[in-house]
């Protein structure tokens, strides 16, 4: 148990710091908007049961409701039709061992600031690797866009008359992440792992389609990816164990190495 004892010590001294990657679940946090002919994603709701009152004089608690994909959330492979027949494809069946993994952070914040529709391609990733080093195998690949800084403004969803405009990968990039770098999943600050306009890509919605079709996960609506190093962070992302669930809101944290205090 030396490793964990060391980790406990590092956490106590601040040599390992915990970065919260989670947006607060609140009623006005935006959810994905689908065309009206489809069912919609329910936002977060909270009804008080009691707060030290006649319904419960010494206790405070609420009933909450939401979609599985509301707020900072986890996408299981069963979320997408391409992953529907995979084994262990729902949140309750995913092995717990897979819920903690290292992360590599790819910073596309400058490109995203210049172009909300910036598309990450295989060429872009290979170029990135040439400058930063190879994306390690079995990592979460986190796309830092600084999109979380837009939370609370219309520019977060960025829903214009021709649809949503937010950055994301194309099929070549996702194929590369999955098949060449064996990623655990794709972690993003935007509302979806796919680009806002990805419905119009060929093939459409490549991140959802390819990631989940190959048993990989998605993490969305993250914050603070700019607080993580390019290499060396460890992401802890444990969705609720919902029977047959396609995903779940969750508290995502990252462990990073810092200076001992």
């Amino acid at each position: 148990m030396t490793l964990l004892t060391d980790l406990a010590g590092a956490l106590a001294t601040g040599q390992v710091r915990v970065v919260d990657l989670t947006n607060t679940l609140r009623a006005d946090f935006p959810v994905i908007v689908l065309p009206p002919e489809f069912g919609q994603c329910a936002p977060f709701r909270m009804e008080k049961v009691s707060r030290y009152d006649d319904n419960g004089p010494a206790w405070y608690w609420n009933n909450i409701s939401m979609n599985e994909h509301t707020g900072t959330h986890f996408d299981a492979p069963a979320h997408w039709v391409t992953g529907k027949d995979l084994p262990a494809n729902t949140v309750d069946a995913i092995p717990a061992q897979d819920l903690i993994a290292a992360a590599v952070v790819i910073d596309i914040s400058a490109e995203a600031a210049a172009n909300a529709d910036f598309v990450v391609t295989r060429d872009f990733l290979e170029d990135w690797e040439a400058k930063n080093g190879a994306i390690p195998l079995r990592h979460w690949i986190a796309l830092r866009t600084d999109w979380y800084k837009r939370v609370g403004t219309p520019e977060y969803l960025n829903l214009l008359e021709d649809g949503v405009h937010s950055p994301g990968p194309d099929a070549s990039a996702v194929e590369f992440m999955v098949h060449d770098r064996d990623c655990v999943g794709l972690a993003v600050e935007t509302v979806g792992t796919d680009a806002g306009q990805a419905f119009h890509f060929n093939p459409p919605l490549p991140a959802h389609s390819i990631l989940h079709g190959n048993g990989r996960f998605g993490l969305q609506c993250l914050t603070n990816l700019d607080k993580l190093p390019t290499f060396g962070a460890m992401i802890v992302a444990c969705p609720l164990k919902i029977e047959g669930g396609s995903g779940s809101p969750l508290r995502v944290v990252a462990l990073i190495e810092g200076e001992a205090t």
Binding site: D28, P30, G39, P154, L157, L159
Partner: protein, 412 residues
């Protein structure tokens, strides 16, 4: 002519608020039957099935022959035979509103009645009679000038029986849709001082936003009645100065019960329309009730716009009709509660609204502007139930005549 209402001054915080008493409330079942009809804007009196004698006040049997009485619509004309001014009263409500003019009216329908008088009505005048509901929801005969007079709606005695939007501060819950926008615009045109217009997602644009939010008298406010915290937060800001609440929230989605209905749509609709109505009532009703007789700045009414299919059900729109039914039930309950405090609770019943969510229903449909007109009219008349547009009127008429047949017609 009546003295024109002047825009109310801001309240002197050192003055006590006048308690919202209601006139004597205990009534017979016959009087409640009269109230139910009066609430629809009808002028009805009881007529004897045997001797045709028309009688007032409401009774259980004919005072002439003991025959059975039925409610019948009657001619509205009358002549004021005598008038008097009440200068003292032991009743807590009238004590605060003295002097109060009443008179004896010889009704064209054939009987004499003690009636409340409009300020422009004098002894010997031909008048137009209405049955108004008082602040407690009970029926009262009110004599109006036969022809419109200057500032007629501003008469202080008449204003006690209405919830006229003039100079009032009004909350319209859903400004994102065409109904809420039409209602808000109509209320401003009817003289409302401010219309607080709810927006349940300030980060998301909506059609008509620029025009409606630029209109003088419209003040956009964040409000999602599907969210308790949002509703409570707005009530914390506005609860003490909203005079009228108009709930225009709708979530109409097609689908049946066993076939084609989506449970997620039903859940969303019930949460918005039914739980939302309760959230709204619990957030705003208590504060409004405390200021129901606070001079010209008094809180006056809670209006709910709901589908007429809440009475009958509707094939292909089962969930939406169920939400409307629950809404009508809640609003009836709220009416009973608010009657004790002097706040009017009104239902505006609509046919299928001419919007994107009723594309499958062939015309005629109900235009948002018709709903807006009905809201204003209900407030100006003090009417409890009003149908917006011909479709709702027609269905309401059929439902009154034969509820079970109408349910069958609308669902089969």
């Amino acid at each position: 002519m009546s003295e024109p209402l002047i825009p109310p001054k801001k309240k002197d915080p050192l003055l006590n608020t006048r308690a919202g008493h209601v006139p004597p409330a205990l009534r017979s079942r016959a009087a409640k039957a009269m109230a139910a009809r009066a609430g629809q804007g009808r002028f009805v009196l009881q007529a004897c099935e045997d001797c045709a004698h028309v009688t007032y006040p409401p009774r259980d049997r004919c005072p002439k022959c003991w025959g059975a009485l039925t409610w019948q619509d009657q001619p509205r004309g009358a002549v004021i035979e005598a008038e008097t001014t009440i200068k003292a009263s032991t009743d807590l409500f009238f004590r605060n509103h003295l002097p109060w003019r009443i008179g004896s009216a010889r009704l064209d329908a054939g009987s004499m009645a003690i009636v409340h008088l409009h300020g422009d009505v004098n002894q010997g005048d031909r008048v137009r009679m209405e049955i108004k509901l008082d602040r407690g929801g009970n029926p009262a005969l009110f004599a109006l000038p036969e022809k419109e007079t200057l500032n007629m709606a501003d008469d202080p005695q008449l204003r006690v029986f209405t919830a006229d939007p003039k100079y009032r501060r009004i909350l319209v819950t859903d400004g994102r849709g065409p109904v809420g926008q039409a209602v808000a615009e109509a209320l401003v045109k009817a003289g409302a001082k401010t219309v607080f217009l709810g927006n349940n997602d300030r980060l998301m644009r909506y059609p008509g936003q620029e025009q409606i939010e630029a209109m003088e008298g419209i003040e956009p406010v964040p409000l999602s009645i599907a969210d308790s915290r949002s509703t409570e937060a707005l009530a914390a800001q506005l609860g003490g100065r909203v005079d009228i609440v108009v709930n225009t929230a709708q979530h109409t989605r097609g689908g049946g019960v066993g076939f084609g209905g989506k449970l997620s749509d039903l859940q969303t609709g019930l949460d918005l329309e039914v739980s939302g109505l309760m959230r709204l009532a619990q957030a705003f009703a208590p504060a409004m009730s405390g200021r129901s007789d606070d001079g010209t700045n008094a809180a006056a009414a809670f209006v709910d716009v709901a589908s007429i299919f809440g009475l009958s059900g509707k094939a292909g729109y089962a969930g939406a009709a169920a939400a409307a039914a629950a809404r009508l039930s809640l609003i009836a309950g709220l009416r009973g509660e608010m009657a004790q405090t002097g706040i009017r609770v009104m239902s505006v019943l609509t046919g299928p609204i001419d919007d994107a969510w009723h594309q499958d229903i062939p015309p005629p449909k109900t235009a948002p502007v018709q709903i807006a007109r009905a809201v204003v009219s209900a407030l100006q008349q003090g009417q409890e139930t009003i149908c917006a547009g011909q479709v709702a009127k027609e269905i309401f008429g059929r439902w009154q005549a034969d509820p079970l047949l109408t349910i069958r017609e609308e669902t089969q």
